[in-house]
């Protein structure tokens, strides 16, 4: 995409420099204590609370003029919220944007990790609605912070156990709790279980920002991230056995289920649209060369 003119009248990346510096310092603390939620004084942005303001503030504090930015929502570059956030960042920084995961230096995401592998020169910023994994069992922030301090996760284990007793399965879909570096239980944001194993011992820095709840946390590269599970009830990712992407034929990607509005039949397409497009293009090129 073309470099766009920077919106006049606003600082580079919208926030004032003092605020960006504060956010970066909190981020450094988060990186130093993997999985620990660092409080920060979240700023209001022209995007509503709950629409990605935590991720945005991280991105704004980190982005430089040479960055190449990718923004996705539900795996897609082209859904309205991703478009909106990309527009705000592009207008206030003038940086180049891309849809190619392998090209982006900074990726902001909601609810997905891109399918293509990420490397050590890339940063993935997650938008987080509920930073507190213990909120399922305890509504009070004072109490959950105490529980983290004492590494007391017994109530969450009991919750998982009771889930199995009641339903014969752990019924947590997305936003599956994980143990980070053997110390803090962390909410990986509402990514599907499919994405959770990719947090473990990764090459990339993962940063998580919750704007409304005013928390930053991180999974640095090469950090152990384990899904909570029992030996007789192991963690499972979503089951797409026998299904494939209707567009690119992938059998190894997270799929969106699509209900045909005429026939009511179910079809599937890749949730990561850039990955899907790239596969189709490669196929097409291979077809031409053959």
């Amino acid at each position: 995409m073309l470099k766009k003119k920077i919106q006049s009248g606003y600082n580079f990346a919208f926030l004032d420099e003092q605020s960006k510096k504060e956010i970066r310092r909190r981020t450094l603390k988060a990186v130093a204590i993997p999985g620990y939620q660092v409080p920060f004084a979240s700023r209001e942005l022209p995007i509503a609370r709950g629409w990605g303001t935590g991720g945005l503030q991280l991105t704004m504090s980190l982005i430089g003029p040479d960055d190449i930015l990718k923004v996705i929502d539900q795996g897609s570059d082209d859904v309205v919220n991703a478009v909106n956030i990309r527009k705000l960042l592009a207008q206030t920084t003038g940086v180049r944007t891309t849809e190619d995961t392998r090209e982006a230096t900074l990726i902001q995401t909601r609810h997905r990790i891109p399918e293509e592998p990420l490397e050590d020169w890339q940063i993935l910023v997650f938008q987080v609605p509920y930073p507190e994994p213990l909120r399922r069992v305890e509504p009070s922030e004072v109490k959950t912070r105490e529980m983290h301090a004492e590494a007391d996760y017994s109530r969450l284990w009991v919750y998982l156990y009771e889930d199995i007793v009641r339903w014969g399965e752990i019924t947590i879909g997305a936003q599956y709790p994980v143990m980070v570096n053997g110390r803090y239980v962390m909410d990986p944001s509402p990514v599907p279980r499919w994405d959770v194993p990719r947090l473990n011992m990764a090459e990339t820095l993962y940063l998580f920002g919750a704007g409304r709840e005013k928390r930053i946390y991180a999974v640095p590269p090469h950090t152990r991230v384990e899904s909570l599970q029992f030996s007789d009830y192991p963690f499972q990712v979503e089951d797409f056995t026998g299904k494939q992407c209707d567009l690119c034929g992938s059998t190894d990607a997270y799929l969106d289920e699509i209900i045909d509005d005429v026939t009511g039949a179910r079809r599937y397409t890749c949730s990561d649209t850039a990955y899907c497009a790239k596969r189709r293009q490669l196929k097409e090129e291979a077809g031409k060369n053959a």
């Binding site: 019924t171 997305a174 089951d239």
Partner: protein
């Protein structure tokens, strides 16, 4: 492909923005002037400044115009604008005894030093729709002003010249008689934190609670305060004093730090609620105080703040109004409205994931059902 309702974003957003503009303008009426909103939608402007946490009448009026009168949306616009402004300093602490009062009442005493000053209020008016307003013209306005405020028509500055410059406070009288709790040493020594620069942690200092409430959403504060008044943690409030007026905005001189400069004035509403008895260390029972102060003229908000301020101090957390975490995390209109609206965003990845779990759980249930038959 039939299913692309939220993709193809950019063009759709632009079209939606044009439609918003069109819906605002399609009636073909004359454009609203910002000055008109500032003058004639005074209370809406005040509310937006309070909830937007920025004392800027022009910007608040502009936000109201842009938001088509939606106060939450207008406050949100103002808050976002606020984030672009650097924090250049803090004002000198205001003493509301120095307030230039436009309204001041007490429900605790019939007669108070300085007198009850009703000021601009609808409290005792019959709420009948005034159909004459529908035909209000500039002539009517001039006629009214020349009779009611002839000085203003002659270009003199309209003011509060007939009102004493400052009043003794009702609560000061009670305090002098030893009927009211004294401020604890801890509270007075407390460093005032800035909740826009340091996130709130619990237990929150009182200054943080009052700041959070001062930018809270009026309706949200009222609902929670009302729950207390109805009995969920009732503090049995009496309105000691309600003041509306201007306080001077003073700052320390940039280079000569011992010099204080008055740079403007700010309209605020202040409520002091006298509440249920409590005994201090000396075992002598005294009344307790709840305090509320917000930007602009917004009495419901200031009173709600004062009731909640007192309710949160009970510390029992048996009722929602007594639980500071419950109150402070849920009164911010910008946060609450943003998150409420976010459910309109697509959630199909997460929904797919729970669908997978439901199908699996159904399989388990069916299998077990077959096993038992």
């Amino acid at each position: 492909m039939g299913y692309v309702p939220i993709k193809g974003g950019q063009a759709a957003i632009e079209a939606a923005e044009k439609l918003v503009r069109y819906f605002r303008l399609r009636g073909g009426s004359a454009p609203l002037e910002i000055k008109q909103i500032q003058d004639q939608m005074r209370l809406a402007v005040d509310r937006v400044m309070g909830e937007g946490s920025l004392y800027a009448p022009f910007h608040a009026a502009l936000a109201l115009k842009q938001a088509e009168g939606d106060t939450i949306e207008a406050s949100f616009l103002l808050r976002a604008y606020r984030s672009t402004l650097p924090r250049i300093g803090y004002s000198v602490v205001v003493d509301t005894r120095d307030m230039t009062v436009i309204r001041r009442i007490s429900a605790a005493f019939k007669d108070i030093p300085g007198g009850q000053i009703l000021g601009p209020t609808r409290d005792y008016s019959l709420r009948l729709l005034d159909f004459q307003l529908a035909d209000e013209s500039l002539t009517h306005i001039r006629e009214f002003l020349s009779k009611f405020a002839p000085g203003m028509m002659r270009g003199e500055k309209i003011g509060t010249e007939e009102v004493p410059p400052s009043f003794p406070k009702v609560v000061d009288m009670l305090r002098a008689e030893g009927l009211l709790e004294t401020l604890t040493a801890g509270e007075e020594a407390e460093e005032i934190i800035d909740i826009t620069r340091q996130p709130i942690t619990f237990p929150a200092p009182r200054a943080a609670r009052l700041q959070a409430m001062a930018r809270g959403e009026t309706g949200g504060l009222m609902a929670l305060a009302y729950s207390s008044m109805r009995g969920y943690g009732n503090v049995h409030p009496t309105l000691g004093e309600l003041r509306v007026g201007y306080v001077p905005l003073r700052v320390y001189h940039k280079t000569r730090s011992d010099e204080v400069v008055t740079v403007g004035r700010v309209l605020v509403t202040e409520a002091e609620v006298i509440a249920r008895m409590d005994a201090e260390e000396d075992n002598i029972p005294r009344f307790t105080l709840g305090y509320g102060l917000c930007f602009g003229h917004n009495e419901i908000k200031a009173i709600s703040m004062a009731v909640l301020d007192r309710a949160m101090r009970t510390g029992s957390k048996e009722a929602p109004a007594e639980d500071e975490e419950f109150i402070l995390y849920h009164i911010d209109g910008i946060e609450a409205s943003g998150f409420t609206a976010h459910w309109k965003l697509p959630h199909y990845v997460t929904f797919q994931s729970v669908l997978d779990r439901l199908r699996r759980a159904q399989q388990v249930a069916r299998r077990e059902g077959e096993g038992t038959q």
